[in-house]
């Protein structure tokens, strides 16, 4: 029963959050590499009904803890339950998503377990020589990459940037074990209680989930230059993103920031306008399916990660693009022929 690779699934608003499936894809690869079993834990109020889905997405075993008091994430009960399970079964590897939950819960677990934790990994692998987990993440403001090992403490823990990997296809014929665990009532108690919750207006899909992202940087020169992006994004059916310099200039809110210090995204199309492509920024978008970049510096790094790079002033390109899109707005964009 002991050892193995574990991932911490997330239930949000009563459903298993898709980031769980991304974690399962990472965990599956590592477990196969080690010839070991992949376990997914899921805590929540409805999790029990969705355990099979977790198996279909790659788990060999699902440990379910289901209670009304676990409906929203709170550190105390989540940490108590997971510490108890981890101490019982001693997994070799423990992964979670770098969400507000994962980034809060994992450090608490690592502190209590006296083990190492690597934040925001973008790459995981197994060292063939010692079978240790290789945890790779951007370091020093995202200018370099560092690979980190947890030498002798266990489990080897890492959080993974959401959208750093595509989930495995759902396979309804996959078989797995579902274990339901129940704890004493006191385990579910928390020192922190929720007073109220205000949901963000649903008008715009969150940036992380957008299919098309139009992102602007310092090269747009002014707040007005940046503001052109909103109509462009609307015409393309996408969301507006911004580089760190653009946010620092106050042209866009922090919620729009793409990069290591902001959001990590994996849209179908990423359009970078006036962005040089500092490693901080690349860490948040380079796994986009298609990258199109406009920059007037032919040596800009963004052009090296682009499928199409245009060396031109983005401030000249945007109005032309907007005009062209307005012209055929009634036409077919985004209605199915966009999948090429």
């Amino acid at each position: 029963m002991c050892g193995g690779v574990w991932v911490l699934g997330e239930e949000r608003d009563g459903v298993v959050h898709p980031v769980t499936h991304e974690l399962l894809a990472w965990g599956r690869e590592l477990a196969d590499r080690l010839g070991d079993r992949l376990t997914c834990t899921i805590l929540g109020a409805h999790a029990i009904w969705q355990a099979r889905e977790i198996v279909f997405h790659g788990a060999d075993r699902v440990i379910v803890v289901c209670d009304e008091k676990l409906r929203v994430f709170r550190v105390d009960p989540y940490a108590r339950i997971l510490l108890s399970l981890i101490r019982e079964e001693r997994p070799e590897i423990l992964l979670a998503a770098a969400t507000t939950m994962g980034r809060t819960l994992m450090p608490v677990l690592a502190a209590r377990l006296r083990t190492g934790l690597t934040a925001d990994c973008t790459q995981l692998d197994i060292d063939p020589h010692d079978r240790l987990l290789l945890q790779t993440r951007p370091a020093i403001g995202g200018h370099v990459m560092a690979t980190i090992k947890t030498l002798s403490c266990r489990p080897q823990m890492a959080t993974i940037r959401p959208k750093s990997r595509r989930p495995l296809p759902r396979t309804a014929s996959r078989r797995g074990e579902v274990v339901v665990r129940v704890f004493e009532r006191t385990v579910y108690e928390s020192r922190v209680s929720r007073v109220s919750f205000r949901r963000d207006p649903d008008g715009n899909a969150p940036l992380q989930d957008a299919e098309i992202v139009v992102c602007g940087g310092r090269g747009l020169k002014t707040a007005r230059g940046f503001a052109q992006l909103y109509e462009l994004a609307q015409l393309l059916g996408g969301n507006v993103g911004a580089s760190r310099p653009a946010v620092d200039q106050g042209w866009a809110p922090y919620a729009c920031q793409v990069g290591l210090s902001g959001k990590s995204i994996r849209p179908r199309v990423y359009l970078a306008l006036g962005i040089s492509g500092a490693p901080n920024h690349l860490a948040g978008m380079s796994s986009a399916e298609r990258v199109v970049a406009v920059n007037n510096d032919p040596n800009a790094d963004i052009l090296k990660v682009a499928d199409l790079g245009i060396v031109a002033d983005a401030n000249e390109v945007i109005p032309m693009l907007v005009r062209r899109l307005r012209m055929d707005q009634a036409a077919t964009f985004g209605r199915g022929d966009a999948d090429g």
């Binding site: 502190a111 030498l151 032919p298």
Partner: protein, 269 residues
């Protein structure tokens, strides 16, 4: 009541240069400042103090001797005193060992009811140390805090999470990590700067905070950096210059790519 602020000194620029022969960071000649996100934590603590003058604020940091400047920057904004964990025994600490040292220092301070820190440092970008310190002290931790109100021995905060904003409350002691939207950090006054410059900021050793040496520094760190490298830029697509082609031609090409009628660039991953 006493508030303890955790701050870190970081490079002022994100243009860090690596020594290709040794694989280490070139640190000479780099200006160091207090972590910009920590300024929001300082401001939050100072505002709590302004509402209740009986509250004292102690700034804690760990780093080389020069990191005392980060503590002075926080004191110039209105914090009362500070202490620096410094010495060879702390060098090379990862987030676990850093959190252990800081949690020991908090115990040593005695009488601290609230720890405030920034969401993360802009150099390491882990955001782990705050929650780890809370866990080691067995205090509640409230992360991603965008507003604070304190009444008596209870704290209520708003937290920004993926789907919205939740208001939670808990009793003190507690640790909170704040995000940048919580406030606009003040500019230190000249008087504040003078006071901070004159203040005595003691350096604490591992012995003084009662820390186990085997839990500190590189030796006490569960993790090791085994490799540092520049990211490989993998996608090699087409680059077209507006000077060579017309701007109109570029826009047409752009549209084709946005619409997905062009195959994806070869040589990707």
């Amino acid at each position: 009541m006493r508030i303890c602020l955790l701050v870190k000194q970081v490079p002022a620029t994100d243009k860090v240069v690596m020594d290709a022969s040794t694989g280490t960071i070139v640190r000479t000649g780099i200006e160091m400042v207090i972590n910009p996100l920590d300024l929001h934590a300082v401001e939050a603590a100072v505002r709590i103090k302004e509402a209740d003058e009986a509250i004292g604020i102690t700034v804690l940091s760990m780093g080389p001797a020069s990191a005392v400047e980060a503590i002075r920057e926080a004191m110039a904004m209105g914090c009362d005193d500070g202490a620096l964990l410094s010495g060879s025994e702390f060098a090379g600490s990862d987030t676990w060992a850093t959190a252990y040292a800081l949690s020991q220092a908090v115990r040593h301070l005695d009488g601290c009811d609230l720890i405030v820190c920034g969401e993360r440092a802009v150099d390491g970008e882990t955001g782990q140390v705050g929650p780890m310190v809370a866990a080691m002290l067995n205090w509640p931790v409230l992360t991603y805090v965008s507003s604070i109100s304190i009444s008596g021995r209870e704290i209520a905060v708003e937290r920004v999470v993926e789907s919205g904003r939740e208001t939670v409350r808990c009793g003190l002691p507690a640790l909170i990590s704040v995000i940048r939207e919580i406030n606009e950090p003040r500019i230190p006054t000249l008087a504040g700067k003078m006071r901070a410059r004159r203040a005595h900021v003691p350096t604490l050793s591992s012995e003084q905070i009662g820390a186990e040496p085997e839990c500190l520094g590189l030796e006490g760190s569960p993790t090791r950096v085994v490799k540092v490298f520049y990211p490989r830029l993998t996608r090699s697509g087409v680059v077209v210059s507006a000077e060579a082609t017309s701007l109109e031609g570029c826009v047409e090409l752009l549209l084709q790519h946005l619409r997905g009628r062009e195959p994806l660039g070869r040589g990707g991953d």
